[in-house]
């Protein structure tokens, strides 16, 4: 099937970008789902604002510019800062869990709300507008440049390489911590690498396709797949197929609505909604099978 006949070149680019991110997010999401750590993505989506606020202050001090626009932000700097913020978030949550007897949910809630509000206050203080930070992480799938594709492809390549090289170790690590501790390879390094990749994928995803689809794509495809497949390779293959299908359908529906009714639907919203519908359909189907 020739995508570029179905879509205009711009739409083809955004479809490819979506595909890159959805595949890398499902790869990461599968292991997050197995480790029961998906809510981390939600926490990161809040704390990223803190990193952006620090970045703004840094820019203001060093380059003495007065006006900021979301687009003037350097992509590389953004990624570095948000990866650091992610590690800070996880570090703080783990610290709280370790040194006080607060449970996981509560410490997550404290940490992300504190960092988020600190970020919001700092941004208001330094830029006198409270919306800039939110604009930056609210990427829009319908406004994509061809250059963004390179970054997305790079992220995808990194994810695929990492996951396939360390597939076995990650599997062991996700299912059985105690076995992982006794295996010969260094699990600390593996964990660090996985966290780094997670934060890289999630935060660059925020910038390019927006928060809602990132949160959706990190949990919904693995959960759909987990209803039907029992092995990790099956899980990954299933989520890749469902990603391609749902991505394609959602792009087509959006295009159709735009051309017929002149309503500009949000592709990312459509994507998550369709994934959710798929999940519900699979749930109903599986329930029917169980009854029959």
């Amino acid at each position: 099937m020739n995508l570029f006949n179905l879509f205009s070149p711009e739409e083809g680019v955004s479809f490819l970008l979506l595909l890159c991110f959805s595949i890398s997010l499902s790869l990461i999401g599968t292991f997050l789902f197995l480790q029961k750590k998906s809510m981390m993505a939600n926490a990161i989506s809040h704390t990223v604002l803190f990193g952006i606020a620090l970045l703004f202050i840094g820019i203001k001090i060093f380059s003495k510019t007065e006006h900021f626009t979301p687009l003037s932000l350097n992509m590389g700097l953004y990624i570095v800062v948000s990866v650091i913020t992610t590690f800070l978030t996880i570090f703080l949550i783990e610290c709280l869990k370790k040194y006080t007897h607060i449970n996981n949910d509560a410490s997550t809630a404290i940490v992300f709300s504190t960092l988020f509000s600190a970020g919001a206050i700092l941004i208001t203080l330094f830029t006198r507008s409270s919306h800039i930070g939110i604009d930056i992480i609210m990427g829009n799938l319908d406004l994509i440049h061809a250059n963004d594709l390179i970054t997305a492809a790079f992220v995808l390549l990194l994810c695929v390489t990492f996951i396939f090289v360390f597939m076995k170790d990650l599997t062991v690590f996700s299912f059985d911590r105690s076995v992982a501790h006794f295996s010969k390879r260094s699990m600390g390094l593996l964990q660090f690498g996985f966290l780094f990749l997670t934060s890289l994928t999630i935060t660059s995803g925020f910038r390019f396709i927006g928060i809602a689809p990132v949160l959706g794509l990190i949990i919904l495809p693995p959960v759909c797949a987990s209803l039907y497949s029992k092995s990790i390779p099956d899980l990954i293959t299933f989520s890749i197929y469902s990603n391609i299908a749902v991505g394609l359908v959602s792009m087509m529906i959006t295009k159709f609505f735009y051309e017929k009714f002149g309503i500009g639907l949000s592709t990312s919203g459509m994507l998550v909604t369709l994934h959710f519908a798929l999940f519900l359909a699979l749930l109903v189907k599986k329930r029917g099978e169980a009854r029959a």
Binding site: S38, M39, T100, I110, G264, L265, G269, H275
Partner: protein
């Protein structure tokens, strides 16, 4: 400075526009904190996150209905709230359904609810943005929270909700306790179902009304932080309710004040984040110095135990040597640094004599104490030996337990073992003097 703070606070509360928003946020924060206590007992503090995110599509659905029937502003906000409650209810039901019927982990069910409803919300938002941009603006204001636009009308609603919640908690206090701590017993008594539904409905109403004062992104912080802070000061559930509402009220008041005065001239900081920061600071302070398991307290307790162990070891060593010992010798024996040794010395000072030339000698008081420790040590050795431990291993265990045993345990051991005179290593067990007098 304190005087100017209070005069500013008085100004804030007497100003008609600000006072409404400050009182409104105090009321909603208190109700949120009560709900937060209940959910922190359930160990699911992130429920507010789910409700807040799932309210998003509901608000827009409400807006659609509003546009369709041509509602005015007051009705529009009622429709927003109605829609939000509907979708949040659906989302919470789906959450429990996934957890109970499909055995999904709490983490993934939370994430499914959040992301799915957020995605649907984004889709609906894009439709309403192209249909009616004006209404979309109202939706955004509702989502991110504007305390400044609060009216007396909102205040009354907040107050009514708070009073209902208060009466509910007061009347069903005991039942809530049973339900939260022992689900099986509660279902046996037949109080689970209705109570759970009512708590859920109250939660939905409080959280969605709270959207206006905190904004969608900060609700879970406002719900979780006062409850956790109170947990570090008190243990009883009723005290937790009282203390967390006090914390919530203080953070709302201080937050309202700081958002006006902290930014300097001309900048009003967003109220929601400032309130959350104040509340989070209270929580971190409580985590540090709280009297129920605070970090500092636990550290002090651990340090004082270490120091006591060292003290007892010094006394034991002096007793066994039956001579004075130099500081250097003791420090080597304890393997302690100078600072730790100083604290140990402070503690041991009444039981020993500090001689010239930096050395220690045992006083009578110290001798009695050391005898007790040695007696406990050897008694424990006898006990372990009788239970069946090898003779070579018992010394190490006794070395640990001698610092922990109490007088009562000592009595029991003596009685159980029949007042032994020697330990398994054939060393004499020092007699207990008071006990001998009593028996005579």
């Amino acid at each position: 400075m304190i005087k100017s703070f209070f005069s500013d606070l008085y100004m804030l509360l007497s100003d008609p526009t600000y006072s409404v928003s400050v009182i409104g946020s105090i009321l909603s924060c208190i109700s949120l904190s009560w709900i937060g206590v209940i959910y922190s007992l359930r160990k699911s503090a992130l429920v507010a996150e789910v409700i807040a995110h799932s309210a998003f599509p509901g608000i827009i659905l409400g807006a659609f209905v509003g546009i369709y029937i041509g509602a005015d502003e007051k009705w529009m906000s009622m429709l927003f709230i109605l829609g939000a409650i509907t979708t949040a209810y659906l989302s919470m039901k789906k959450l429990t359904f996934l957890q109970e019927k499909w055995h999904k982990s709490a983490d993934s069910s939370l994430m499914i609810s959040i992301s799915a409803f957020l995605g649907i919300g984004v889709l609906l938002a894009s439709i309403i943005q192209s249909v009616s941009p004006m209404v979309y603006k109202d939706v955004v204001i509702f989502l991110y929270g504007r305390t400044a636009t609060m009216l007396y009308f909102h205040l009354i609603i907040y107050a009514v909700v708070m009073v209902i919640l208060f009466i509910f908690i007061l009347v069903f206090h005991r039942r809530i306790q049973i339900f939260e701590f022992d689900k099986t017993f509660a279902s046996f008594l037949g109080i689970g179902r209705l109570l759970d539904t009512f708590i859920l409905m109250m939660t939905l109403v409080v959280v969605i009304l709270g959207l206006r004062s905190c904004g969608i992104l900060l609700l879970s912080g406002m719900m979780a932080t006062p409850a956790i802070a109170s947990r570090f000061w008190v243990r009883k559930m009723s005290s937790m309710f009282i203390l967390s509402s006090a914390f919530a009220a203080i953070s709302a008041l201080l937050g309202g004040y700081l958002s006006l005065y902290l930014g300097g001239e001309g900048i009003v900081l967003p109220t929601g984040p400032v309130i959350t920061i104040v509340s989070a600071s209270i929580t971190f302070f409580s985590i540090l110095v709280g009297i129920r398991g605070g970090v500092v307290l636990r550290m002090v307790r651990r340090m004082s135990f270490t120091i006591r162990c060292h003290e007892e070891n010094i006394l034991k060593a002096l007793y066994k040597k039956n001579d004075k010992m130099a500081f250097r010798e003791i420090m080597e024996f304890l393997q302690a640094g100078v600072i730790l040794f100083f604290f140990v010395l402070l503690r041991v000072r009444k039981k020993v004599k500090i001689l010239h030339g930096w050395s220690l000698e045992l006083k009578e008081q110290g001798r009695v104490y050391a005898e007790r420790i040695i007696r406990l040590h050897r008694l424990w050795e006898v006990y372990l030996y009788e239970v069946g431990f090898a003779k070579g291993r018992i010394h190490v265990f006794a070395e640990e337990i001698e610092h922990v045993l109490t007088d009562e345990m000592e009595e029991m051991l003596l009685k159980r073992l029949g007042n032994p005179t020697h330990c398994p290593h054939r060393q004499k067990i020092p007699e207990k003097k008071e006990a001998c007098n009593e028996s005579v």
